[in-house]
Amino acid sequence: MDHFGTTSEHLGAGAVQLRQHALHRPDAITYGQPITLEDHQASPMVVEPFRMLDCCRDTDGGAVFLLTSAARAKTMPGVRPIYIRGMGFGHNIRNWHGRDVYAHHDDVAPAAARAFAQAGIMLDDIDTAQFYDPFTISIIMQLEHYGFCKSGHGGPFVADGGIALDGKIPANTGGGQISGFYAAGFTPIIEAMKQLRGEAGAMQVKNANIALSSGHGLNGGVQNTWSHGTLILGNEP
């Protein structure tokens, strides 16, 4: 925010958008509770720049997916398999040792490069993105790091409806971790699977064949998130 002029209103636009998505999901923790930008701005500051409505909440619940070979999945009755098209990881411990951490704390580039290469696709081939989003800023930063918008433009991109169902890249269509449910990395994976199976209801992305799902975390005890994982999922092998 200091570098790019991203504002609290940009964060708020993301919070409102996620809440809109969750309004269509009876299993979301904020189902039936729409918010406005004014609600966001009036919510108490917790740790700057995050207000209460910028943060996800602890959620009790469970999530399961079964991982098996593509050949075996096809033999399982009543199952519509989702295929792992590509995966990659990045870890910027080198930035800790190089003492250049805080402006580049996540490590999307190597994770995305490997995952996209494995899948043999380009960014434009992604039909929907499901980002790990414990805080509103996480979506903005990942939109920039993946290249869905220019560096520093993530705030206006979200405020202009870029992650809405009819936006440039429909993202976190179940409300994400902030308004849907927080189940660590399961949240984006489960929503990607729903989209690719055509089970996303009113938030279904048309012709959703390839989805991006991300995760980040790990800290080594000295720093906030600095590892990143990229998963490219598809409804065809």
């Binding site: 108490p44 500051m45 917790v46 700057e48 040792h97 003492r99 805080y102």
Partner: protein
């Protein structure tokens, strides 16, 4: 939180906390070969663990990043809200996470020079503007 040294007894960082508790001395882990300072305790990325030693430093630096807590992270900090948590870049090179005291949170700026606060019985090394 009043006896951090006891909590991390036997851990690699124990000498740091012992020195702070016993005499408000501020130590960094330094490679005896290349002279690079580290915090927390670590191996030198060039020369490994055997070259590492604890050395006392003046404990001055600049604010690299900071945020303001409007809710206390632990109940012991409730009376200090709002308080500033900062990442310092110490003059010897390493980052150090601490609270900034002696200045209103809204007056703090990135790049501000800070020094260690002594003589107030702090269980954790806190900093204030130079």
């Amino acid at each position: 939180m009043n006896n951090i040294a006891a909590l991390i007894q036997g851990e690699p960082d124990a000498p740091f906390w012992d020195a702070w508790r016993d005499g408000e001395r501020f130590l960094l882990h330094r490679c005896g070969i290349c002279g690079r300072h580290e915090w927390p305790a670590t191996c030198c990325i060039e020369y490994g663990l055997s070259a590492m030693e604890w050395v006392e430093v003046p404990a001055t630096g600049v604010i690299d990043s900071f945020t303001i807590f409007h809710r206390a992270y632990t109940k012991e900090l409730a009376a200090d809200v709002p308080y500033t948590l900062a990442v310092l870049r110490l003059d010897e090179g390493p980052y150090f996470h601490t609270r900034i005291t002696g200045i209103a949170p809204e007056s703090i700026r990135i790049g501000m020079r800070v020094r260690l606060r002594r003589g107030t019985g702090d269980s954790f090394p806190l900093f204030l503007p130079e």
